[in-house]
Amino acid sequence: SLTDRLSSSFSFFRGKKELTADNIEEGLKGVRQALLEADVHFKLAREFTERVRERALGDKRLKGVDPSEQFVHAVHEELVELMGPEDARLSYAKTGPTVILMAGLQGAGKTTTCAKLAKHLREKHQKRPLLVAADVKRPAAVEQLQILGNNIGIPVFHVPGKTPPEVCAAGVAEAKATGCDVVLLDTAGRLHVDDELMDEVAEIARVTSPDDQVLVVDAMTGQDAVNSAKAFHERLTLSGVILTKMDGDARGGAALALKEITGAPILFVGTGEKVDDIDAFHPERMAGRILG
């Protein structure tokens, strides 16, 4: 844990009455190391460590608190604030169906998450969702969503032979026609450096005017999270992020990049392969996980 890691550097805190610019250096090194090991982006780890420096020194009015505890507390609080907010919500349309665009890199978990989110919205928010299978490229992608939808009794819309923007636009029309109040657009995985596919996802957004543009990200993602977050945010102005495969042991430092670059809240976390494996995002838990 961060405390264990810092305990060797705590020897310099011992006997000190308060945190000073000098005695804090070792602690900051330990924090930066912890973040880098957790896949936090190199630049962000440095920026964050600087913020902790300011906060820890600025907080030094806390008398009677052990400096090392005060330091860890400063680190934790700074990260929790960064990770927040807690209880972030999807935006719902004022009139007509709420359109949710799910985008992201290949294999991130979009298709599975669409089904999870649809079930969650029906059970917890009494919505009538429609799933739209707009990945026309990946072999059996449409079938995958159809099977998932079938398993939970949620309709899946697809028109063969149409482009993804056409399928999505038709899906929204279908929702309006059948009284569905949420439309989840499952899109093909794409690289942020593939201009053609980035144009395609921007076109999907243009023809469906989503209420929510969500980036689905694998929690195991490393330093590349900054690059993909930037590119997707530029094309889509993301309104939310879902972090998948959080049931593994990846520390999830990519979450910092997502928050810093897009400012979008982390709405949910994927915690398994089953359709119920979607949970609320808890900033303090994420902070603890990243700090190890």
Binding site: L36, H41, K43, Q106, K137, P139, Q144, D218, G248, A250
Partner: protein, 277 residues
């Protein structure tokens, strides 16, 4: 100034950032410190020296081995494993394509009996490749049974290469890792030294967790090589260095896109150059 820029704090910190952002993890810090040490001892004269030294060191860290697999058994049995969404099924499709182009007969085993449309996905790839496929004949078949049937069919049909797909699983799921170990044991029941290769497909965009994946999968099923997929993006796949340091696993192939021909035998020099240049 001959030899590029002088070696100073800026150059070293620039290189440290380059290595870290390529997902080398703690190795990035170690390498940078080593370069600083060599510089202090006067062994590095300028930026060119530093880059050459870095390149040589990284190549050294990858060691020998890897690249194109040599087919020495009939059938050659290759078991493909890895975490969810890493690129296993697509990599198998590409490998099938490669072996077919080399004039080999290929049989695919649809060992993912869990995920929605997993077997359908592989079946479409089999058809596109002119490869045969063995899939479960009833709902929720045991993946070990499918593996067994696949290897049996390969023997009966005189197949050159067998590629067995498995369901994605996290290395933290004990029961699923046990299931994988069982798949491997069952294959060996049919052909004693099979699977001849067990390849772990790593998502090239993963960070340090790829090292833990490699350790756990190797402990469960004796991984013999890596396939690093999705290196056509901006990720550099630097976790490979940590994996090699911990386990000595060679990289057999890298995936550089979603279509069939986008799989190359691993070559250390371009891989290192992509990081260092």
């Amino acid at each position: 100034f001959k030899g590029g820029r002088p070696i100073d704090e800026n150059l070293l910190s620039e290189l440290e950032e380059l290595l870290y952002t390529s997902d080398l993890g703690p190795i990035a810090g170690e390498l940078t410190e080593e370069l600083a040490r060599l510089h202090k001892r006067g062994e590095l004269k300028g930026e060119d020296d530093v880059r050459t030294c870095l390149r040589t060191t990284l190549l050294g860290k990858l060691g020998e081995g890897g690249g194109e697999v040599e087919l020495t058994h009939k059938p050659e049995v290759i078991l493909v494993v890895g975490v969810n969404g890493s690129g296993k099924t697509t990599s198998i499709a590409k490998l099938a394509h490669r072996f077919k182009t080399q004039g080999k007969s290929v049989l695919l085993g649809a060992g993912d009996t869990f995920r929605a449309a997993a077997a359908d996905q592989l079946a479409i790839w089999a058809e596109r490749n002119g490869a045969e496929i063995v899939r479960q004949n009833k709902d929720n078949a045991d993946p070990a049974a499918v593996a067994f049937d696949t290897v049996s069919a390969a023997l009966a049909r005189d197949i050159d290469v067998v590629l067995i797909d498995t369901a994605g699983r996290l290395h933290t799921q004990r029961n699923l890792m046990d299931e994988l170990a069982k798949v491997r044991r069952v294959i060996a029941k049919k052909i004693p030294d099979a699977p001849h290769h067990t390849w772990l497909v790593i998502d090239g965009t993963n960070g340090q967790n790829a090292i833990e994946q490699a350790k756990q999968f190797t402990a469960a099923v004796e991984v013999t090589g890596l396939v690093v997929a999705k290196l056509d993006g901006t990720a550099r796949g630097g976790a490979v260095f940590g994996i090699h340091e911990a386990l000595g696993l060679p990289v057999q192939y890298i995936g550089t896109g979603e279509s069939l021909e986008l799989l190359e035998p691993f070559e250390p020099e371009p891989f290192v150059d992509a990081i260092v240049s």
